[in-house]
Each structure stands twice: as structure tokens, then as C-alpha cells.
């Protein structure tokens, strides 16, 4: 058995963003930056017809694995089943160093995150980083219309404000303000043509751009054995008291690489949570209709135990 697939799950990167925001352009950046040294697997699942057959990506002339799913209108979780089996095949046969999914502009990132926790997948891959690409020129009118855009911003690690050359400074500032209100933890970058600095995505899971550099804690986790990285998700309508949330996080923060998400508190307010290697930040956000959603990433994390532990505080 290949050692890499046996003990080291492949990082999975998710690129979200509404139709036409620039996701494919970011993918091209990935390919141009890494395809010469690493084996990249790209999954495209685009709703629109512009990028038929991954033509734009192939134009880079670089070598990478391309998997296209369904190639048509994908909007249901049921159609993700195709994605699951294709992903397993891809991981087994190509043994890539990283998988990058360009999600359909209408996809729910949490649903994709949950899929990666399936028994057949969790030993093979883990959700490492989520980018959300924003078309700065149309975000403000569209976000009130398309709820999914807000979901995508909420769950992103990095938000890329694209096409800033076509928006006024004032508009860009307003968009940035709005993004911060939705997701105060996201790292926001202003750019055009998705021309952003890509951090070294292969360095280690600990090297994500918004991780604090608390090396003691990092060493504690890294030295604890081979990186059996698992993700766990809590999704519940229950409200939790702030002190209980803090207690829950203190139970897990030292033994997880990252916990992030949104929690509805019992005082009827909502907070955004980000915890990286023992350093936890809880920030207030506007109250939304969404349930509490937390995603955790860590060694030997058990989804059910994690979820039950949270529920026990409700």
C-alpha cells in the first residue's frame, strides 16, 4: 500500500464563489504556481457553460489531473454522490499531492465538508483551506438575493475581493466591511484577476496563512504521531451559553489544529469562532437564520464524539 495514502491524507482545497467571480482564474494561479513540482488534482463542477471541458485550465499548458463532474446543473446534495465516488477514484488512482475543488457557484460548502468525513474518505483527505472569491462589482446587490453567497463567505478561510480594478474605492471598502460583518475571521485580500500571493499550501497544515504561530502548541500536535487528520462538524439548532461554549472550546482547542464556524448563543446573539492551536477568538456577528455550524480539524478527531460533546452543553 502506498505510504502516503496510508498515513498521510491529502489536503483538500475548496474554491468557492459565485458564478463569474473568478474561481477558474484562481485555479489557473494554482496550476501555474505548483504544477511543475507537485501533482495537482483539480475537480471542476461548474454550473455555467463558459468553462466547458476545463478548456481554460488546459490552456496553461501545465500538467495536472482534471476531473469534471456532471458538467451540467448541479444543485442537490444527491448529485454530490457522484462527486464522492469520483473523488475516491481520483485519490486512489492518481495519488495527488493536493486536491482542489472549484465548487459550483451554487454549492453549499458545509455539505462538501461533511462529505469528506465519510468513512471511505476521511483517511484519504481532509479539508485544508477554503477560498471564497468575490466579484467586488456585484457582491452587494447579489448577496441580498443569493443566500448561498453569504454561506460561502461564512465558511471561507480566505476571502479574495476580485475585480477591484473595476470597482470604486468606496465600493470596495463597503464590500470589505460587509465581508467582515459576515465573517470577521476571514483573511481578506483585494486583487484583480485573482492575482494573490498563494502561501505554500504544501508546507504543513499548520502553515495556513491565518494560523497563529504558536510553535509550542504546533509541536505538541505534530509530535503526537503521524498526521491522521480528521474533520468533524457540528450542526445544530440548539443554543449554547457563552461560558459553555468557552468550556467546550477549551476541551478541544489544544488537541485540534483548528476549530471554526458560527455559534448561536442562548442570549439570542451569534458569534464567529476561530481556534487555532489553543488560541481561540470569539467575535460577535450579526444574527442569522443559519444554525450553529462548527468545523474542526485535528488528529484522531472523532466526528460523533465531537458532535456529542457539543450537544451535551445544550
Amino acid at each position: 500500500m502506498d505510504q502516503r495514502t496510508a498515513i498521510k491524507p491529502v489536503p483538500f482545497f475548496l474554491v468557492t464563489g459565485f458564478l463569474g467571480s473568478g474561481k477558474t482564474t484562481l485555479l489557473k494561479r494554482f496550476i501555474e504556481t505548483y504544477a511543475d513540482g507537485k501533482k495537482l488534482a483539480i475537480i471542476q463542477n461548474e454550473f455555467a457553460d463558459i468553462n466547458v471541458d476545463g478548456r481554460e485550465l488546459k490552456a496553461t499548458g501545465k500538467s495536472f489531473e482534471l476531473l469534471e463532474i456532471n458538467k451540467g446543473s448541479v444543485f442537490c446534495v444527491c448529485l454530490l454522490s457522484d462527486f464522492t465516488s469520483s473523488l475516491i477514484d481520483l485519490l486512489d488512482t492518481c495519488q495527488p499531492d493536493a486536491v482542489i475543488l472549484e465548487a459550483t457557484g451554487l454549492a453549499d460548502p458545509i455539505a462538501i465538508g461533511q462529505l469528506l468525513m465519510a468513512d471511505r474518505l476521511k483517511m484519504k483527505t481532509y479539508l485544508s483551506h477554503v477560498w471564497c472569491i468575490i466579484d467586488t462589482t456585484s457582491f452587494l446587490p447579489m448577496e441580498t438575493l443569493v443566500t448561498r453567497m453569504v454561506h460561502q463567505v461564512r465558511i471561507a478561510d480566505s476571502v479574495v475581493l476580485n475585480k477591484t480594478d473595476q470597482s470604486s474605492a468606496e465600493e470596495t471598502q463597503q464590500v470589505e466591511k460587509r465581508i467582515t460583518m459576515i465573517n470577521p475571521h476571514a483573511e481578506i485580500t483585494r486583487t484583480k484577476y485573482c492575482d494573490i500571493d498563494l502561501f505554500d499550501i504544501f508546507k504543513e497544515i499548520t502553515a495556513t496563512s491565518n494560523s497563529p504561530t504558536n510553535t509550542n502548541n504546533i509541536n505538541h500536535l505534530i509530535s503526537s504521531g503521524p498526521p491522521n487528520i480528521f474533520s468533524a462538524v457540528v450542526r445544530t439548532t440548539g443554543n449554547i451559553a457563552r461560558k459553555d461554549l468557552e468550556q467546550f472550546l477549551s476541551q478541544y482547542e489544544m488537541n485540534t489544529y483548528r476549530i471554526k464556524g458560527y455559534v448561536n448563543l442562548s442570549d439570542n446573539s451569534s458569534v464567529s469562532v476561530q481556534s487555532c492551536f489553543g488560541k481561540t477568538k470569539i467575535l460577535s456577528v450579526e444574527k442569522s437564520m443559519s444554525p450553529t455550524e462548527l468545523i474542526a480539524l485535528g488528529p484522531n478527531l472523532d466526528h460523533r464524539v465531537f458532535s456529542n460533546a457539543f450537544e451535551s452543553f445544550l
Binding site: N70, C78, S81, S290
Partner: protein, 540 residues
Amino acid sequence: MNGNELIQAAIKLQKVDRIPWVPFVGCHAGYLIQVNAKEYFQSEENIVNGVKAAISHYTPDGIPIVFDLQVEAEILGCDLIWADENPPAVSSHPLAENISLDDLQIPRATDGRLPLILGATRTIRKEYPDIALYGLITGPFTLALHLFGSGIFMKMYNDEAFVKRLISFCTKVCFAMSGYYIEAGCDVIAMVDPMTSQIGPDHFKQFVTKPATDIFDHIRDKKCLSSFFVCGNAQQNIEVMCECRPDNISIDENIPLDFVKEICLKHQISFGGNLQLTVVLLLGDEDDAVRNAHECMKIAGDTGFILAPGCDLPYATPAENIKAISEYIHDPYQLEIAQTLEGHEKVQDILDMSDYGRSDKIIIDIITLDSESCPPCQYMVESVKEVAPAFENIITWREHKIKHRESLTFMTSLMVKNIPTICIDGQITFVSRNPPREELIAAIQKRIFEKLNHKIRSKKGTLLIFGKDEEQCNNVKPEVERALRELGTDVDIEYITDEKEALSYGITSTPAVVTAKYSTKSEGFVPSIPAIKEWIKELQ
């Protein structure tokens, strides 16, 4: 109550004998009859056979005829891409390609694939009068998206009038489609509008509320029941969906069921769905499936709830997973077992059973819910009790009621997953079925022979003959061989002429005879130090 009556009662929030169950079998029916999705959705015969197979496997209370949201779009000029394991996908949008909305005609019952779908509906209606048939129509918002493409979102922003006109046309398509299905014999019309999960409640009210309300009123006027299916994270819209007055709302795993229950029941509307399609039904096992069904039913309660997957079952969903849910919902004891096993994952203290069943006696363990209250468990215990006298002093049997924590630990340690189960010497032998007397006796006898065989193989004796040379050994050999012949014993003979080796046995004067008896203590694995110590003690 038959299936249809259960569904009707649940939808009307009336008391039900048990929670009804509707597996949303679409392209998965193709998998059941081993044809691909394309062959399935394009053949009346395949659809009839597929639905029949699903009914026979899953004993549903209700079932959809065809789960394909592209039927109307195809008739209206959208190109389709066919897949082997998925419903087709729309790949072109006529209204984005110079075709005018005014040119589109309401589909007739003779258009596209409708004749074969409606034909299949009539055949299945005739054959299964007791099962509720669901006719699925594409909701107006999703159909509008098929016809115009994703540019519709921008259009909603800058050309509200056009989008409203388009949705109004799609609403008329829904009227026609629901009429065809009702005429063909459907009991419930499910309007499936997954794309509404993309928009918020304000825009839902602006664009969807009126058309959807009109469609549900239309279905009601035709004396039929309606359901509003949505998949994706549409939590924000549940309240406004209720305001459209469907008879039922069906959702997928993206929306917490407790939330849906609260909102729907407040509006006096039944609800359903929520079984996890991919992680559990497609990728999990029977245990996961039953546990998920149990969780859904526990949260939903027994008023106004229909157990169903969140959406169309994936093509290659293991049939065993869906069968497990079906068995669970039809068997009240399975429900009790699931409740008892709820703390299952909390069993941390797993026993080391690697040496279990090595004693001289045969141990028969029966894992039950409780033989006093659960008839299947009772019959299994009685079967063992009945054969036990025939094996007096050879077998020991005991019942482990999983209501007790230690029994749960025992069950988990033996890796037993189903109740009731018979284990013989720790081996899972009969699962969830009561073995006939002869079969049980045969299984016990088989184990007795295995043990006997092992005992014979593992015990052996050796006679060592020491001599200063071969000649001296040969002097002793005939006497030894004769003694063995007279006893009929199978003992190995070894000749040792090496002086140093003889000394190691404490032999100083030859010829000499030493007997050695040994037994195999371990085979095929590295024994633990405490075990080796015990063996050494036996020698002293």
C-alpha cells in the same frame, strides 16, 4: 392502515399506527434492475420494473414514480447530458439563446418522455393500490433557471418583470404537469424546487410565494395532496414555504429537522425527509442507516412526519442500507433495540475476547433485547434451551440482555451488530434469525469436532532414547516399539547419541529412556509474557 392510508393520515396530522416511510427512489431503481440511469429514464418498462423492484425490496408506504427534474425542461428545449449514475443534467438554456418566452408552449401529455412516465404511473397504480404514489413536478423557480440559465439571478436584480413573467409561465407548466400525474393516479404531487434554497425569504416572497401558493391551491382543488420538496440549505425559507400552504414540506439533511418540525407544525403542515443521503445511505452501513432513521424519528415524533431521504437516492446506494431502514420501521422491536443501543458508541471498556471460547465446554451466548419482552429474542432463547439437554455437560448457554450495560459491553466486544444473535464460543453464528433445531445442533456439533480435533492435534508425546552410539540405541528400540504396538499409542521416538545433549537432560549413564509430553500453547501469534509465565508454571 395500509401505506397510502398512513401517508394520508400523516399528511393530515392525524394519528398513525407507525411513522410512514417513502424512499425517494429515482435513478437508484435503475441500479436495482441493473440498467444505467439513461436506459432507466428512457424506458417505460424499465421504470415499471425499477419501481416494482424498489417496492419489493423496501416495502415503502409511498414511492415516487420518476425522480427527474429535467423532464419538463427537455420538452421545453433544454439540451440534456445523460449520465450512467445520475439523472440527466441540463446543459443549454433556450431563453438565453435567442428563443423567446412567447415561443414556449405548455407541455402536453404526449410530449417528450411524458407518455412513458404517465404509462408507468398507470401500470404501477393498478398493481399497487395500497401504496401512495408521488408524482414529481419541477418547481417554477428551478424550471425558470433551467430555461434561462444562472443569469436569472442578475435578471432578478435588474429585470424583475421578465423573471416574473417567466416564473408565471413555469407555474402554468406546473398546473399542467400536476394534472397529468393526478389523472394517471398519483396520490401526492411533490413540487420539487431546490433552487429556491439559493435565495433569501424576501426574494422568495417576491418571486416564488404567489406561484407556489397557486400551484398548491390548484392541486388541492383537484382533491389531491401536495408536498413542497426543497434540497440544499433552505433553512431561511421554511417559514415562507409554509406560507405557500402545501400539505407537506420535505427537506434534506442540510436543514435541522427539529427546526423544520417546529415551524411546520406551527403552520399545521406535515413534514418529512432528512435521512442523510451520501454520508449515511450511500457511504455508510446498515447500522449507520438505522441509527440515522432512529435519530430522525426521535426528533420528528409521530405526528405529521414522513421518514424519507432528503432527496433522490444516489444510484449505487447499497440496497442493504435501505432495506435495513425498511425492516427497522416495520419492526417495533428494532425500534426498541435502536433506542437501547443509542449509547452504543459510548462503550469504551472493550473486553479482550481473543481467547474467548477456549475452555473445554462449548459456550453459547445469546445476545437479546430481553427474551421476556421481545418475541424474536424469546424464540431464539427457547431454541437453545430446547437443544441444551442433548449436550448436557458439554455446553453452557447464557442470555445477555443488552438493556444491561455489561451485556452491551459484551456485545460490542464480540462485534455483534444485530439483535438477537447466537454466538458459539464467541463466533457470531446466527444473526437475527431463529435457526431450525437441526441447524443449531449441527452448528454445536461442528464446534465440538473442531475443539476435539484441536485437542488431539495440540497434545503430543515423545520418547527419547539415549545411547552412546547407534548400536546402543538399537538395543533399546525393539522393546520400546513393542510396548507402543501393544498400547496402540502414537508417540514420536527420537534417538540421541550426542553426549553433550544427553548431559543437558541430566543423563550420565546410557542407554537411557526419557519421556516428554508437550502441548501446543500458541500458534500463529506472539504470545503475551503473562501467558508464557503461566505455561512455565505448569512445568514446575
